[in-house]
């Protein structure tokens, strides 16, 4: 892809940040729509090659889209029907397990503080261990009672909307390309090539981002599972998958994933701090590998933005739209910067405007040709 059609500079940056912030704020207000749309877009990019393959084998686009989206829906139902009752059955024991993990974390903190107190006398004189333990107990109780319950309620409220995702994905698969062509039809001839360049850039940005995210999750999950299994933590695969999915949330996800793995290791090996240290080391190694090797090769390539506005967008996303804002900030900023850059380049090109005016004058001449007496 050639970048000469993209304008850049402080104005483009400012417009990108302003528009993305507005979109993120609007997303926070319409989360019930954003979540299924986001899932539908991920499904679209996963299923699009299958639809193309079916189409190539002589099946019409409508039928191919219906077959693929229908197949995914049936698969989801086949997985959900036995899973939901099992999950409900597990909810009580899940709460118990969480309590056990928090207790394991508390024990780890107490042991670490006791070791520190034995090394540094002033901490013992401050009764540091008891004070921190009391604060941790308070925090743990509040988290269980308020934060966790609220989080689960919010997640449950999104569930019906999530069921919309395959339905939306079907329409994207069936009509997405035709819809783009229809929009291109409405674009004046002078701006046509720039517009198809913009469509392609937007498509590439979104596709690379979401496909990169999926690849990243698979690689991360495999690495975490392998690492935890080697350390000897049970449930390595489940923990690995959850940690990999949490990594989709920039900044916050990494911290949550690390805490989860540390708690699991501390609970299972309360008398062996070296297992916890090994788990932390493994987690940090994977994150390091992720940030500097895997991510630049997958997700990083899709967002063609300078690191400064990228970090700024993450902070703005988190502030105006919370966790969904953190997840959406980068792909949204990538798409908006492409659109703003292309429109900026069109505005800056007087030749294109002259050609458009010339086309309009030709059209006017033709329309008025038989009006002269």
């Amino acid at each position: 892809m050639n970048g000469t059609y993209l304008a850049s500079g402080p104005l483009v940056w400012m417009a990108t940040i302003a528009i993305t912030t507005l979109l993120l704020a609007a997303s926070a207000k319409a989360l019930f729509l954003v979540v299924p749309f986001l899932l539908a877009i991920i499904l679209y990019y996963m299923l699009y090659p299958v639809v193309r393959r079916l189409e190539f084998n002589g099946i019409g686009r409508e039928t191919a889209a219906a077959l693929v989206a229908g197949g995914v829906s049936l698969l989801a139902i086949a997985v959900l029907v036995p899973t939901v009752p099992w999950l409900i059955g597990q909810s009580v024991s899940g709460e118990e397990a969480l309590g056990r993990y928090l207790e394991g974390g508390r024990v780890l903190i107490n042991r670490t503080l006791a070791t520190l107190e034995s090394q540094f006398g002033f901490l013992k004189r401050m009764d540091f261990s008891a004070e921190v333990g009391r604060r941790a107990d308070e925090l743990g109780g509040t988290f269980m009672k308020e934060q966790l319950a609220q989080g689960l309620l919010n997640a449950a409220a999104q569930l019906p909307a999530v069921l919309l995702a395959p339905f939306l994905a079907f329409f994207l698969l069936r009509d997405g390309r035709r819809f783009m062509r229809m929009i291109a039809t409405a674009i004046p001839n002078a701006f046509f090539e720039r517009t198809i360049f913009m469509f392609d850039s937007v498509h590439q940005t979104a596709r690379n981002y979401f496909a990169g995210l999926l690849k990243l999750a698979v690689v991360d999950a495999a690495l975490y599972t392998l690492g935890l299994w080697l350390i000897g933590v049970s449930g390595a695969m489940v923990l690995g998958i959850v940690a990999a999915l949490l990594a989709w949330i920039p900044m916050v996800g990494s911290i949550l994933g690390c805490i989860m793995i540390v708690l699991a290791a501390a609970t299972e090996f309360p008398n062996d701090p070296w297992v916890v240290y090994a788990a932390i080391g493994m987690y940090l190694s994977v994150r390091f590998l992720d940030t500097f090797v895997i991510m630049p090769l997958t997700v990083g390539r899709s967002i063609r933005m300078h690191p400064l506005p990228t970090v700024l967008m993450l902070f703005i996303g988190g502030t105006v739209a919370g966790v969904p804002g953190l997840v959406l900030a980068l792909p949204m900023a990538g798409v908006v910067s492409t659109v703003v850059g292309t429109i900026g380049a069109i505005i800056d090109d007087p030749r294109l405007h002259a050609r458009h005016r010339f086309s309009k004058s030709l059209e006017a001449k033709r329309i008025n040709a038989d009006l002269q007496l």
Binding site: M1, N2, T4, Y5, P49, R52, R53, E55, F56, N57, G58, R61, D175, R177, R178, F179, R181, M182, A184, T185, N189, A190, F192, E193, R194, I196, F197, F199, D200, H203, Q204, R351, R355, F358, S359, L362, E363, R366
Partner: protein, 158 residues
Amino acid sequence: MFSFLKRQSEQSRIGQIQRLGLFATLQPKELRVINGLLHERRYLKGEIVFDQGEEGQALYIVFGGRVLICRQGEPETGRIAEVAEGSMFGELALLDGSPRSAQARAAEDCLLAALSRADFNGLVETHAVVASKIALQLARALGQKLREHFVAMDARPL
């Protein structure tokens, strides 16, 4: 409700595409894939399709009318070629985004179909056989043009 999105006269368009040298080796189902990628554009007589020096994004097929290829801003004195119905121009844009080597203007009211480089690149990923057939035909066409150029310059090809 979505009737406005329905495909129109697909069969007649596929027939026209099939007659083009670039797509001559494609099977009917492969032609359907190509047809799904084309953008139909209408140009009035005298209207500019693209300028010399502009970054090429698409190849154009003439479905109706004629297109003049000329030096920038010299439709009379800088005439290079005229592309008739059933032919194409701007095919180098499929290979890269290098600047257009000449200006293209509608010599009369035209109906064109554009195949973008982005769509062709997508074809390379999803339908490699179709893309390779087109690329081979493109290479043949360019080779032919190169030979004609050498003959015109009264020089021997390398």
